[in-house]
Protein backbone atom coordinates (compact mmCIF):
# COMPACT_ATOMS: atom_id res chain seq x y z
CA UNK A 1 0.00 0.00 0.00
CA UNK A 2 1.51 3.28 -1.09
CA UNK A 3 1.35 6.64 0.62
CA UNK A 4 -1.79 8.81 0.80
CA UNK A 5 -4.07 5.87 0.33
CA UNK A 6 -7.60 6.11 1.57
CA UNK A 7 -8.76 2.87 3.09
CA UNK A 8 -12.43 2.36 3.84
CA UNK A 9 -12.81 -0.83 5.80
CA UNK A 10 -16.02 -2.63 6.76
CA UNK A 11 -17.91 0.60 7.29
CA UNK A 12 -21.49 0.24 8.52
CA UNK A 13 -23.89 2.95 9.52
CA UNK A 14 -27.37 2.76 11.00
CA UNK A 15 -29.72 5.68 11.47
CA UNK A 16 -32.64 5.72 13.80
CA UNK A 17 -35.78 6.82 12.00
CA UNK A 18 -39.05 6.86 13.96
CA UNK A 19 -37.52 4.61 16.58
CA UNK A 20 -36.61 1.88 14.12
CA UNK A 21 -33.09 1.33 12.89
CA UNK A 22 -32.41 1.88 9.21
CA UNK A 23 -29.31 0.24 7.91
CA UNK A 24 -27.82 2.82 5.56
CA UNK A 25 -24.39 1.40 4.93
CA UNK A 26 -23.54 -2.23 5.33
CA UNK A 27 -19.97 -3.45 5.42
CA UNK A 28 -18.56 -1.11 2.79
CA UNK A 29 -14.89 -1.55 1.98
CA UNK A 30 -12.89 0.21 -0.73
CA UNK A 31 -9.21 0.95 -1.05
CA UNK A 32 -8.53 4.11 -2.98
CA UNK A 33 -5.13 5.01 -4.31
CA UNK A 34 -3.74 8.48 -4.06
CA UNK A 35 -4.74 10.54 -7.10
CA UNK A 36 -7.45 8.15 -8.17
CA UNK A 37 -10.80 9.39 -9.48
CA UNK A 38 -13.57 7.30 -7.94
CA UNK A 39 -17.22 7.64 -8.82
CA UNK A 40 -19.90 6.16 -6.62
CA UNK A 41 -23.29 5.54 -8.21
CA UNK A 42 -26.51 4.54 -6.60
CA UNK A 43 -30.14 5.51 -6.10
CA UNK A 44 -30.95 8.69 -4.22
CA UNK A 45 -30.95 7.86 -0.55
CA UNK A 46 -28.76 4.77 -0.90
CA UNK A 47 -26.26 6.08 1.61
CA UNK A 48 -23.68 7.47 -0.82
CA UNK A 49 -23.81 10.88 0.83
CA UNK A 50 -23.57 9.24 4.22
CA UNK A 51 -20.43 7.47 3.10
CA UNK A 52 -18.91 10.77 1.99
CA UNK A 53 -19.80 12.40 5.28
CA UNK A 54 -18.11 9.56 7.12
CA UNK A 55 -14.98 10.00 5.00
CA UNK A 56 -15.17 13.75 5.68
CA UNK A 57 -15.34 13.12 9.42
CA UNK A 58 -18.72 14.84 9.68
CA UNK A 59 -20.43 11.60 10.70
CA UNK A 60 -19.24 8.65 12.75
CA UNK A 61 -19.74 5.13 11.51
CA UNK A 62 -21.16 2.43 13.78
CA UNK A 63 -18.45 -0.01 12.88
CA UNK A 64 -15.46 -0.19 10.60
CA UNK A 65 -12.96 2.56 9.92
CA UNK A 66 -11.76 5.08 7.38
CA UNK A 67 -8.04 5.67 7.28
CA UNK A 68 -6.17 8.26 5.31
CA UNK A 69 -2.44 7.76 5.18
CA UNK A 70 -2.77 5.19 7.93
CA UNK A 71 -4.52 7.63 10.26
CA UNK A 72 -8.12 7.02 11.28
CA UNK A 73 -10.48 9.86 10.34
CA UNK A 74 -12.59 10.85 13.33
CA UNK A 75 -13.25 14.55 12.71
CA UNK A 76 -13.06 16.94 9.76
CA UNK A 77 -9.55 17.83 8.74
CA UNK A 78 -8.07 20.04 6.07
CA UNK A 79 -6.72 16.93 4.36
CA UNK A 80 -10.21 16.19 3.13
CA UNK A 81 -12.31 18.75 1.30
CA UNK A 82 -15.96 18.48 0.46
CA UNK A 83 -18.21 19.92 -2.24
CA UNK A 84 -21.93 19.63 -1.77
CA UNK A 85 -24.77 19.53 -4.25
CA UNK A 86 -25.68 23.10 -3.32
CA UNK A 87 -22.75 25.47 -3.54
CA UNK A 88 -23.19 26.48 0.10
CA UNK A 89 -21.30 29.71 -0.36
CA UNK A 90 -22.09 32.16 2.40
CA UNK A 91 -24.37 34.77 0.86
CA UNK A 92 -22.98 37.53 3.10
CA UNK A 93 -19.41 37.07 1.90
CA UNK A 94 -17.93 37.95 -1.48
CA UNK A 95 -16.52 35.23 -3.72
CA UNK A 96 -13.05 36.14 -2.53
CA UNK A 97 -13.99 36.01 1.15
CA UNK A 98 -15.81 32.72 0.64
CA UNK A 99 -12.81 31.15 -1.04
CA UNK A 100 -10.53 32.43 1.73
CA UNK A 101 -12.67 30.75 4.40
CA UNK A 102 -10.27 27.87 4.94
CA UNK A 103 -7.18 30.07 5.02
CA UNK A 104 -7.62 31.22 8.55
CA UNK A 105 -4.08 30.78 9.70
CA UNK A 106 -2.56 32.38 6.63
CA UNK A 107 -2.64 36.14 6.40
CA UNK A 108 -2.08 39.08 4.13
CA UNK A 109 -0.40 38.80 0.75
CA UNK A 110 0.07 35.07 0.82
CA UNK A 111 -3.60 34.54 1.47
CA UNK A 112 -4.59 36.89 -1.35
CA UNK A 113 -2.18 35.15 -3.67
CA UNK A 114 -3.61 31.71 -2.92
CA UNK A 115 -7.16 32.95 -3.38
CA UNK A 116 -6.26 34.59 -6.71
CA UNK A 117 -4.51 31.43 -7.85
CA UNK A 118 -7.51 29.22 -7.20
CA UNK A 119 -9.99 31.69 -8.61
CA UNK A 120 -7.91 31.60 -11.75
CA UNK A 121 -7.93 27.80 -11.69
CA UNK A 122 -11.73 27.76 -11.66
CA UNK A 123 -11.86 30.64 -14.18
CA UNK A 124 -13.48 33.15 -11.86
CA UNK A 125 -10.85 35.86 -12.08
CA UNK A 126 -12.70 39.17 -12.19
CA UNK A 127 -15.50 38.00 -9.89
CA UNK A 128 -13.55 38.44 -6.64
CA UNK A 129 -15.90 41.02 -5.18
CA UNK A 130 -19.15 39.56 -6.52
CA UNK A 131 -21.67 38.10 -4.08
CA UNK A 132 -22.94 34.53 -4.56
CA UNK A 133 -26.42 35.69 -5.56
CA UNK A 134 -24.85 37.53 -8.48
CA UNK A 135 -23.35 34.31 -9.88
CA UNK A 136 -24.93 31.66 -12.07
CA UNK A 137 -25.30 28.14 -10.66
CA UNK A 138 -22.22 26.88 -12.47
CA UNK A 139 -20.09 29.81 -11.40
CA UNK A 140 -21.19 29.45 -7.79
CA UNK A 141 -20.25 25.76 -7.87
CA UNK A 142 -16.83 26.68 -9.29
CA UNK A 143 -16.33 29.14 -6.44
CA UNK A 144 -17.16 26.40 -3.98
CA UNK A 145 -14.64 24.12 -5.70
CA UNK A 146 -12.01 26.85 -5.30
CA UNK A 147 -13.00 27.20 -1.65
CA UNK A 148 -12.40 23.49 -1.07
CA UNK A 149 -9.10 23.45 -2.94
CA UNK A 150 -7.31 26.32 -1.18
CA UNK A 151 -6.23 24.03 1.63
CA UNK A 152 -4.74 21.69 -0.91
CA UNK A 153 -6.66 18.67 0.38
CA UNK A 154 -5.37 15.21 -0.44
CA UNK A 155 -8.90 14.00 -0.97
CA UNK A 156 -11.77 15.95 -2.48
CA UNK A 157 -15.27 14.60 -1.88
CA UNK A 158 -17.96 15.67 -4.30
CA UNK A 159 -21.54 14.99 -3.28
CA UNK A 160 -23.59 15.18 -6.51
CA UNK A 161 -21.83 18.45 -7.23
CA UNK A 162 -23.47 19.06 -10.60
CA UNK A 163 -26.89 17.65 -9.79
CA UNK A 164 -28.48 21.08 -9.54
CA UNK A 165 -27.06 22.35 -12.84
CA UNK A 166 -28.60 22.19 -16.28
CA UNK A 167 -27.40 19.45 -18.65
CA UNK A 168 -25.04 21.63 -20.71
CA UNK A 169 -23.47 23.34 -17.73
CA UNK A 170 -23.12 19.93 -16.13
CA UNK A 171 -21.10 18.58 -19.07
CA UNK A 172 -18.93 21.67 -19.03
CA UNK A 173 -18.33 21.30 -15.30
CA UNK A 174 -17.39 17.63 -15.76
CA UNK A 175 -14.62 18.72 -18.12
CA UNK A 176 -13.59 21.44 -15.69
CA UNK A 177 -13.32 19.03 -12.80
CA UNK A 178 -11.14 16.72 -14.91
CA UNK A 179 -8.89 19.63 -15.83
CA UNK A 180 -8.61 20.64 -12.17
CA UNK A 181 -7.96 17.04 -11.12
CA UNK A 182 -5.21 16.61 -13.72
CA UNK A 183 -3.58 19.79 -12.46
CA UNK A 184 -4.04 19.34 -8.71
CA UNK A 185 -3.67 15.57 -8.68
CA UNK A 186 -5.80 15.01 -5.58
CA UNK A 187 -7.89 11.96 -4.95
CA UNK A 188 -11.44 12.60 -6.10
CA UNK A 189 -14.47 10.75 -4.80
CA UNK A 190 -17.58 11.81 -6.64
CA UNK A 191 -21.03 10.62 -5.74
CA UNK A 192 -23.69 10.74 -8.42
CA UNK A 193 -26.82 9.01 -9.65
CA UNK A 194 -25.90 9.88 -13.21
CA UNK A 195 -24.24 6.80 -14.74
CA UNK A 196 -23.01 8.79 -17.76
CA UNK A 197 -21.26 11.19 -15.47
CA UNK A 198 -19.66 8.39 -13.49
CA UNK A 199 -18.25 6.56 -16.53
CA UNK A 200 -17.09 9.77 -18.17
CA UNK A 201 -15.09 10.83 -15.11
CA UNK A 202 -14.04 7.83 -13.05
CA UNK A 203 -11.02 5.57 -13.01
CA UNK A 204 -13.29 3.24 -11.14
CA UNK A 205 -17.03 3.25 -10.71
CA UNK A 206 -18.40 1.84 -7.47
CA UNK A 207 -22.01 0.71 -7.64
CA UNK A 208 -23.92 0.80 -4.37
CA UNK A 209 -27.31 -0.75 -3.66
CA UNK A 210 -29.86 0.99 -1.54
CA UNK A 211 -31.04 0.08 1.94
CA UNK A 212 -28.80 -1.36 3.02
CA UNK A 213 -26.06 0.38 1.07
CA UNK A 214 -23.74 -2.38 -0.06
CA UNK A 215 -21.13 -2.41 -2.78
CA UNK A 216 -22.66 -4.35 -5.66
CA UNK A 217 -19.78 -4.09 -8.05
CA UNK A 218 -16.72 -2.06 -8.94
CA UNK A 219 -15.89 -1.29 -12.58
CA UNK A 220 -12.41 -0.39 -13.70
CA UNK A 221 -12.33 2.05 -16.63
CA UNK A 222 -8.92 2.21 -18.20
CA UNK A 223 -10.04 4.34 -21.09
CA UNK A 224 -7.80 7.34 -21.84
CA UNK A 225 -9.00 10.87 -21.21
CA UNK A 226 -10.45 12.96 -22.74
CA UNK A 227 -13.05 10.30 -23.26
CA UNK A 228 -15.52 10.22 -26.07
CA UNK A 229 -18.91 10.16 -24.41
CA UNK A 230 -20.17 8.02 -27.30
CA UNK A 231 -17.37 5.44 -27.04
CA UNK A 232 -18.61 1.88 -27.51
CA UNK A 233 -16.73 0.69 -24.43
CA UNK A 234 -18.53 3.27 -22.34
CA UNK A 235 -21.94 2.31 -23.61
CA UNK A 236 -21.22 -1.34 -22.82
CA UNK A 237 -20.14 -0.31 -19.35
CA UNK A 238 -23.27 1.72 -18.96
CA UNK A 239 -25.34 -1.35 -19.76
CA UNK A 240 -23.39 -3.41 -17.26
CA UNK A 241 -23.83 -0.82 -14.53
CA UNK A 242 -27.47 -0.46 -15.38
CA UNK A 243 -28.00 -4.17 -15.00
CA UNK A 244 -26.59 -3.99 -11.46
CA UNK A 245 -29.64 -2.01 -10.48
CA UNK A 246 -32.05 -4.19 -12.40
CA UNK A 247 -30.72 -7.71 -11.97
CA UNK A 248 -33.75 -9.69 -13.05
CA UNK A 249 -35.83 -9.23 -16.16
CA UNK A 250 -39.11 -9.17 -14.30
CA UNK A 251 -37.77 -6.35 -12.15
CA UNK A 252 -36.95 -4.35 -15.23
CA UNK A 253 -40.39 -4.99 -16.60
CA UNK A 254 -41.93 -3.89 -13.35
CA UNK A 255 -39.92 -0.70 -13.46
CA UNK A 256 -41.15 0.02 -16.95
CA UNK A 257 -44.81 -0.48 -16.11
Amino acid sequence: MSHNDLVIKNVSKTFEVNKSAVNVLDDVSIEIQSGEFICIVGHSGCGKSTLLKIIAGLLECNSGSVKLDGKVILAPDTDVGMIFQEHRLFPWLTVEENVALGLDNISGDKRDRIVAEYLELVKLTGFETAYPHQLSGGMAQRASIARSLVNNPKVLLLDEPFGALDALTRMQMQQEILRIWEKEKNTMILVTHDIDEAIYLGDRVVVISSRPGRILDIFQISLQRPRDRADALLSNLKKAIYSCFMPADHLAAKEMA
Binding site: T78, G81, M82, R88, P91, W92, L101, N151
Partner: protein, 249 residues
Protein backbone atom coordinates in the same frame (compact mmCIF):
# COMPACT_ATOMS: atom_id res chain seq x y z
CA UNK B 1 -49.68 54.83 -13.10
CA UNK B 2 -52.35 52.28 -12.32
CA UNK B 3 -50.30 51.19 -9.35
CA UNK B 4 -50.07 54.77 -8.18
CA UNK B 5 -53.85 55.05 -8.21
CA UNK B 6 -54.07 51.71 -6.47
CA UNK B 7 -51.95 53.03 -3.62
CA UNK B 8 -53.53 56.45 -3.34
CA UNK B 9 -57.21 55.82 -3.93
CA UNK B 10 -58.09 54.85 -0.36
CA UNK B 11 -56.16 57.65 1.42
CA UNK B 12 -57.62 60.23 -0.96
CA UNK B 13 -61.09 58.81 -0.33
CA UNK B 14 -60.64 59.29 3.42
CA UNK B 15 -59.75 62.93 2.97
CA UNK B 16 -62.58 63.54 0.54
CA UNK B 17 -65.17 62.05 2.91
CA UNK B 18 -63.70 64.06 5.77
CA UNK B 19 -64.06 67.21 3.71
CA UNK B 20 -67.59 66.29 2.67
CA UNK B 21 -68.77 65.49 6.19
CA UNK B 22 -67.35 68.63 7.76
CA UNK B 23 -68.41 70.89 4.86
CA UNK B 24 -72.02 69.89 5.48
CA UNK B 25 -71.51 70.12 9.25
CA UNK B 26 -72.83 66.67 10.07
CA UNK B 27 -70.80 66.80 13.29
CA UNK B 28 -69.96 69.69 15.60
CA UNK B 29 -66.44 71.06 14.99
CA UNK B 30 -65.36 69.96 18.48
CA UNK B 31 -65.97 66.35 17.55
CA UNK B 32 -64.64 66.47 14.00
CA UNK B 33 -62.98 69.74 13.01
CA UNK B 34 -62.84 70.68 9.30
CA UNK B 35 -59.62 70.06 7.45
CA UNK B 36 -59.04 73.80 7.20
CA UNK B 37 -58.97 74.15 10.99
CA UNK B 38 -56.59 71.20 11.31
CA UNK B 39 -54.15 72.55 8.75
CA UNK B 40 -54.36 76.03 10.34
CA UNK B 41 -53.58 74.48 13.71
CA UNK B 42 -50.71 72.53 12.15
CA UNK B 43 -49.19 75.70 10.68
CA UNK B 44 -49.67 77.62 13.92
CA UNK B 45 -47.98 74.93 15.99
CA UNK B 46 -45.22 74.67 13.43
CA UNK B 47 -44.54 78.42 13.48
CA UNK B 48 -44.56 78.69 17.25
CA UNK B 49 -42.05 75.83 17.43
CA UNK B 50 -44.36 73.92 19.74
CA UNK B 51 -44.77 71.10 17.27
CA UNK B 52 -41.10 70.43 16.70
CA UNK B 53 -40.50 70.72 20.43
CA UNK B 54 -43.18 68.10 21.20
CA UNK B 55 -41.91 65.71 18.56
CA UNK B 56 -38.30 66.17 19.52
CA UNK B 57 -39.00 65.41 23.18
CA UNK B 58 -40.80 62.19 22.24
CA UNK B 59 -38.18 61.15 19.69
CA UNK B 60 -35.34 61.67 22.18
CA UNK B 61 -37.14 59.42 24.66
CA UNK B 62 -37.52 56.80 21.95
CA UNK B 63 -33.88 57.13 20.93
CA UNK B 64 -32.70 56.58 24.50
CA UNK B 65 -35.05 53.74 25.34
CA UNK B 66 -34.74 51.99 22.01
CA UNK B 67 -30.93 52.06 21.94
CA UNK B 68 -30.74 50.57 25.40
CA UNK B 69 -33.32 47.92 24.49
CA UNK B 70 -31.54 47.14 21.22
CA UNK B 71 -28.17 46.66 22.88
CA UNK B 72 -29.60 44.56 25.72
CA UNK B 73 -31.87 42.57 23.42
CA UNK B 74 -29.20 41.72 20.86
CA UNK B 75 -26.60 40.93 23.51
CA UNK B 76 -28.82 38.65 25.57
CA UNK B 77 -30.44 37.23 22.42
CA UNK B 78 -27.07 36.21 21.00
CA UNK B 79 -26.05 34.65 24.30
CA UNK B 80 -29.32 32.75 24.58
CA UNK B 81 -29.11 31.72 20.96
CA UNK B 82 -25.60 30.37 21.25
CA UNK B 83 -25.75 28.81 24.71
CA UNK B 84 -28.43 26.36 25.76
CA UNK B 85 -27.45 26.92 29.41
CA UNK B 86 -28.02 30.67 29.23
CA UNK B 87 -31.25 30.03 27.35
CA UNK B 88 -32.61 27.67 30.01
CA UNK B 89 -31.57 30.10 32.72
CA UNK B 90 -33.62 33.00 31.37
CA UNK B 91 -36.32 31.52 29.20
CA UNK B 92 -39.16 30.92 31.71
CA UNK B 93 -39.22 34.32 33.46
CA UNK B 94 -38.64 36.17 30.20
CA UNK B 95 -41.48 34.37 28.46
CA UNK B 96 -43.77 35.09 31.42
CA UNK B 97 -42.86 38.78 31.52
CA UNK B 98 -43.36 39.00 27.76
CA UNK B 99 -47.05 38.16 28.20
CA UNK B 100 -47.71 41.28 30.30
CA UNK B 101 -48.98 44.18 28.19
CA UNK B 102 -46.55 47.07 28.40
CA UNK B 103 -49.32 49.46 29.44
CA UNK B 104 -49.78 47.37 32.58
CA UNK B 105 -46.22 48.19 33.61
CA UNK B 106 -46.79 51.93 33.57
CA UNK B 107 -48.30 52.28 37.08
CA UNK B 108 -45.51 50.24 38.63
CA UNK B 109 -42.80 52.06 36.71
CA UNK B 110 -44.25 55.40 37.81
CA UNK B 111 -44.19 54.20 41.42
CA UNK B 112 -40.57 53.19 41.07
CA UNK B 113 -39.17 55.89 38.81
CA UNK B 114 -41.56 58.81 39.20
CA UNK B 115 -43.14 60.63 36.30
CA UNK B 116 -39.90 62.12 34.98
CA UNK B 117 -37.80 61.14 31.98
CA UNK B 118 -36.52 57.97 33.56
CA UNK B 119 -39.91 56.28 33.77
CA UNK B 120 -40.59 56.87 30.05
CA UNK B 121 -37.23 55.51 29.04
CA UNK B 122 -37.69 52.46 31.24
CA UNK B 123 -41.12 51.75 29.76
CA UNK B 124 -39.75 52.03 26.23
CA UNK B 125 -36.89 49.70 27.10
CA UNK B 126 -39.41 47.15 28.35
CA UNK B 127 -41.51 47.45 25.22
CA UNK B 128 -38.70 47.33 22.69
CA UNK B 129 -36.51 44.75 24.42
CA UNK B 130 -38.66 41.66 23.86
CA UNK B 131 -39.14 41.80 20.09
CA UNK B 132 -35.40 42.36 19.66
CA UNK B 133 -34.58 39.51 22.03
CA UNK B 134 -37.04 37.01 20.61
CA UNK B 135 -36.04 37.68 17.01
CA UNK B 136 -32.33 37.51 17.79
CA UNK B 137 -32.73 34.13 19.50
CA UNK B 138 -34.83 32.95 16.57
CA UNK B 139 -32.26 34.25 14.06
CA UNK B 140 -29.48 32.29 15.70
CA UNK B 141 -31.60 29.15 16.02
CA UNK B 142 -32.49 29.02 12.32
CA UNK B 143 -28.95 29.15 10.96
CA UNK B 144 -28.95 26.60 8.11
CA UNK B 145 -27.32 23.30 9.11
CA UNK B 146 -25.67 23.28 5.69
CA UNK B 147 -23.55 26.30 6.56
CA UNK B 148 -22.59 24.84 9.91
CA UNK B 149 -21.41 21.72 8.08
CA UNK B 150 -19.23 23.87 5.83
CA UNK B 151 -17.81 25.57 8.92
CA UNK B 152 -17.02 22.18 10.42
CA UNK B 153 -15.32 21.04 7.19
CA UNK B 154 -12.98 24.01 7.46
CA UNK B 155 -12.47 23.45 11.16
CA UNK B 156 -13.48 27.00 12.00
CA UNK B 157 -12.94 28.00 15.61
CA UNK B 158 -16.00 28.67 17.77
CA UNK B 159 -15.41 32.39 17.41
CA UNK B 160 -15.11 32.19 13.61
CA UNK B 161 -18.23 30.01 13.49
CA UNK B 162 -20.01 32.80 15.32
CA UNK B 163 -18.69 35.76 13.32
CA UNK B 164 -18.74 34.11 9.90
CA UNK B 165 -21.86 31.96 10.14
CA UNK B 166 -24.19 32.44 13.11
CA UNK B 167 -24.14 36.22 13.36
CA UNK B 168 -24.44 37.16 9.67
CA UNK B 169 -27.07 34.52 9.14
CA UNK B 170 -29.09 35.95 12.05
CA UNK B 171 -28.81 39.58 10.95
CA UNK B 172 -32.02 39.69 8.86
CA UNK B 173 -34.01 38.33 11.82
CA UNK B 174 -32.29 40.76 14.19
CA UNK B 175 -33.29 43.59 11.87
CA UNK B 176 -36.85 42.38 11.92
CA UNK B 177 -36.72 42.47 15.73
CA UNK B 178 -35.26 45.97 15.74
CA UNK B 179 -37.95 47.14 13.38
CA UNK B 180 -40.70 45.76 15.62
CA UNK B 181 -38.93 47.13 18.67
CA UNK B 182 -38.74 50.61 17.22
CA UNK B 183 -42.37 50.61 16.22
CA UNK B 184 -43.25 49.42 19.75
CA UNK B 185 -41.12 52.21 21.24
CA UNK B 186 -42.97 54.84 19.31
CA UNK B 187 -46.38 53.47 20.30
CA UNK B 188 -45.37 53.15 23.92
CA UNK B 189 -43.85 56.59 24.31
CA UNK B 190 -47.13 58.15 23.17
CA UNK B 191 -49.11 55.96 25.57
CA UNK B 192 -46.79 56.78 28.47
CA UNK B 193 -46.97 60.49 27.70
CA UNK B 194 -50.76 60.38 27.66
CA UNK B 195 -50.84 58.70 31.08
CA UNK B 196 -48.20 60.78 32.81
CA UNK B 197 -46.05 63.47 31.29
CA UNK B 198 -45.72 67.20 30.97
CA UNK B 199 -44.15 67.21 27.51
CA UNK B 200 -44.05 65.26 24.26
CA UNK B 201 -46.51 64.55 21.50
CA UNK B 202 -48.63 62.23 23.64
CA UNK B 203 -48.90 64.86 26.36
CA UNK B 204 -49.89 67.40 23.71
CA UNK B 205 -52.86 65.46 22.38
CA UNK B 206 -54.11 64.64 25.87
CA UNK B 207 -53.73 68.25 26.95
CA UNK B 208 -55.57 69.43 23.83
CA UNK B 209 -58.36 66.97 24.55
CA UNK B 210 -58.90 68.49 28.01
CA UNK B 211 -59.08 71.93 26.35
CA UNK B 212 -61.53 70.61 23.71
CA UNK B 213 -59.05 71.50 20.93
CA UNK B 214 -59.87 68.61 18.67
CA UNK B 215 -57.87 70.06 15.74
CA UNK B 216 -54.70 69.91 17.85
CA UNK B 217 -55.52 66.31 18.76
CA UNK B 218 -55.91 65.39 15.11
CA UNK B 219 -52.67 67.12 14.08
CA UNK B 220 -50.95 65.08 16.79
CA UNK B 221 -52.53 61.80 15.77
CA UNK B 222 -51.70 62.25 12.10
CA UNK B 223 -48.10 63.11 12.93
CA UNK B 224 -47.75 60.11 15.22
CA UNK B 225 -48.88 57.93 12.34
CA UNK B 226 -46.58 59.54 9.80
CA UNK B 227 -43.53 59.47 12.05
CA UNK B 228 -44.19 55.82 12.87
CA UNK B 229 -44.36 55.08 9.17
CA UNK B 230 -41.10 56.95 8.53
CA UNK B 231 -39.27 55.10 11.34
CA UNK B 232 -40.45 51.81 9.88
CA UNK B 233 -39.26 52.76 6.38
CA UNK B 234 -35.81 53.66 7.71
CA UNK B 235 -35.46 50.08 8.89
CA UNK B 236 -36.76 48.61 5.67
CA UNK B 237 -34.16 50.58 3.71
CA UNK B 238 -31.45 49.95 6.28
CA UNK B 239 -31.93 46.21 6.14
CA UNK B 240 -31.94 46.22 2.33
CA UNK B 241 -28.68 48.11 2.40
CA UNK B 242 -26.98 46.00 5.05
CA UNK B 243 -28.29 42.55 4.15
CA UNK B 244 -28.69 42.63 0.38
CA UNK B 245 -28.59 38.82 0.23
CA UNK B 246 -31.76 38.51 2.29
CA UNK B 247 -33.71 40.48 -0.28
CA UNK B 248 -32.83 38.56 -3.42
CA UNK B 249 -34.94 35.58 -4.12
Amino acid sequence: MARFTNYLFFPVMIFVSWWFVTEHEYFPAVILPPMKAVSASFLKQLESGQLSQDILVSLIRVAKGFSIAAILGIFLGLLMGVSKTVNRFFVIPLNAIRQIPIIAWIPLIILWCGIGELSKVVIIVLGAFFPVLVNTVFGISQVPKDYIEVGRMFRLSRWKMFTKIYLPSAIPAIFEGLKLGLSNSWTIVVAAEIIAASSGIGYRINDARSLMQSEVVIVGILLIGLIGLALDQIFVWGSKLLTPWAHTK
